[in-house]
Amino acid sequence: MSEQAVAAPKHEHHEHHEELGFWRKYVFSTDHKVIGIQYAVTGLLFLLFGFSLMMLMRWQLAYPGVALPLIGNLFGEARMPGGTMLPEFYNELGAMHGTIMVFLGVVPLAVGGFGNFVLPLQIGAPDMAFPKINMASYWCLFLGGCTMLGSFFVPGGAAQSGWTSYAPLSVIAGSGQTWWLVGMIFLITSSLLGAVNFLTTTIQLRAKGLTFMRFPFFVWAQFVTSFLLLLAFPPLEAAGVMQLMDRVAGTSFFLPSGLVVSGQVLANAGGGNAVLWQHLFWFLAHPEVYVLILPAFGIVAEIIANNTRKPLWGYRSMVYALIFLGFMSFIVWAHHMFMTGMGTTMAAFFQTTTMIISIPSVVILTALVVSLWGGSIRFNTPMLFAVSFLPMFGIGGLTGLPLGLNISDIPLHDTYYVIAHFHYVVAPGTIFALFAGIYYWYPKATGRRMNETLGKIHWIGSLVCMNVVFMPMFIVGLAGVSRRLFDAGSAYDFAQGTMHWNAVSSWGAWTMGLFQLPFIFNFFYSIWNGQKADDNVWQATTIEWSAPSPPPHGNFATAPQAYRGPYEYSVPGSDKDFTPQFEA
């Protein structure tokens, strides 16, 4: 409880850090860099796991009812008898793919990983403000992840009600759903502890001279993200507690009176409201969308400024847009719920706020595109990923507009069009930005660079395959095929013309899996064999590049100081094309 406010331990003195044993140094560490790497590796492993679940689903969607060759028999008679996927298993895979990708993949990597590793270095801090809470935050995530993984092995399998866990389906579902709720409570606790820590660190531990308007854009992005986590997650925690009460104590928060299940009227008190769950869920989950995208904006902004050798165009407008975006993200949630039969007044309100929130996103994206203009661009791997982020996120954003309008959302709701839209935002959008960030900050974390050739193979393969996977889904979705069908609609006449596009998507996904192998190899190989990097390998201007690579415990030998804004590249009259923030 208030432990977190009071447990601000005196940091071990710098000269003492050699005494830490293996466990305290690498496992139960309070060093923000170790915790950041723990978060990042955990996030990457869960991304791979979540992607594997999807590759299984893609077989069923491409070839419904056909036995999966080679590995089909490994999943047991209860899930894939004779290698053919049962609908229950398909639902399990779908629900857990969403949950794992969002809460255990992207958020831990983007916020926990990059936020923990980069943010204190960028503001010139020796560590986070509350190192022990930082460690607790990682271990809460770890427990949440174990709970989610463990739920695959309970009777009836993992949660099957979608990552949104809509009531009343989720309330009457098997025991995997209870595990899902308990896991979510761990993950929410982890995010809340992290958010308090990030905000306090950013406000209090800024280096001398580092005013808010001298923050690198990445720091701003993490700052607004932390506010979203802090204020949006508790309502989902409340909703989770209520759903847990419904499932365990037999209450009826989300169960209406007279609900008939399998021909029998449920013997519950009734009087509950299923739509209440949707409100509480989306009150978190819409800001959550921005939790997924804002750190990506931050990473891309850093890399674009660095590799165009120019200041970011419109830094101030970007910051104001970011703050406005964070605020607006709390009042758009019901655009996910146009199908619940809300009145036209409510629908008009939420579609208006939704149109308004697209403006700051466009401001940021435009500023990033204009920043490219007239630069002498270095096309290294981080930059290639960062530049591809721009059109991919653009496609994702623009295809969201028809979904934000009540009238056009109704036919598109819950079709593959929605899947294509938000995956363009998160997969070739956010995940490309995360790859860019890994290639960019890897030399800071390890002292060595990742291999450029392997990086470029990874980039071009992923870029092409991402589009092969998701572009056909727009076509399938516009044909009206629902995303919930476990046979991709093969039982319906209207869906017959779209079946071959599912196979295209699937082959794209499996090929994309192959193109991740160079990345995985590169990631481990370069730890020991990469080209050695000096402290400021990209000739960058922000404070993290003044620390040694890798930075020691405590980060900086002497407290750094900020003398100017974050992106003073190609200053006229200067003898080099970058003027670091940290040099007097």
Binding site: V6, K10, H11, Q204, L231, P235, A249, F253, L280
Partner: protein, 196 residues
């Protein structure tokens, strides 16, 4: 490099780290209880009939508990004020009173719960009891959490006073902020559940 501003105040923000941390945490707590109160309103307004609180619950016990919690908030402030005046003995006395009053609150709550459970009024009985147990149960967990932290500062945590009294005083202040918040939640819960 040590982490700055764990004890000292940063000049441009006027705060130490712990105080920002606890206020941010309380902001998230407001959202947690806010969501539950909002759910209460939605479920109550959507239901055909809803019992008035004092017809099913014992408002006299709850009034007593309100007085107990408000008194414990006063003793919490006195504990902190004693530390500000560097009177460690009086701090211990007031802190013990705060923890004990929290205990009294929980004992009363125990009798209240067992009375309702004895009558067969389980959480599954109706949505009134569902929200009653959920809200008061979550609040009770917060009381328990606050008591654990306060007991720690009364006992083993108080060693810090000898080496760094300013830091210890700050810690007690932050734990007090949390305790007042828990008190405030009850002040909203009491009329909502027991009177309206």
């Amino acid at each position: 490099m040590d982490i700055p501003y764990t004890v000292a105040v940063r000049r441009d923000t006027g705060l130490n780290n712990g105080k920002i941390g606890i206020w941010l945490f309380l902001a998230s707590e407001v959202m947690l209880f806010g969501a539950l109160f909002a759910s209460y309103i939605l479920i109550r307004t959507g239901s055909p009939s809803w019992p008035r609180g004092d017809t099913v619950l014992d408002y006299r016990l709850a009034t007593f508990n309100t007085i107990v919690l408000i008194t414990s908030s006063v003793t919490m402030v006195m504990a902190w004020a004693s530390l500000m005046r560097r009177r460690f003995g009086t701090f211990r006395m007031y802190m013990a009173a705060t923890v004990l009053l929290g205990g009294v609150f929980l004992v009363v709550k125990y009798f209240e719960y067992s009375h309702h459970l004895h009558l067969g009024e389980y959480p599954s009985h109706s949505n009134f009891f569902a929200i009653y147990y959920t809200l008061t149960g979550l609040h009770m967990l917060h009381v328990l959490g606050g008591m654990v932290v306060n007991a720690y500062f009364w006992g083993p945590g108080a060693k810090l006073y000898e080496t760094n009294p300013v830091w210890f005083t700050n810690r007690v202040e932050h734990s007090g902020l949390f305790w007042h918040f828990v008190d405030l939640v009850w002040i909203f819960l009491f009329p909502t559940l027991y009177l309206l």
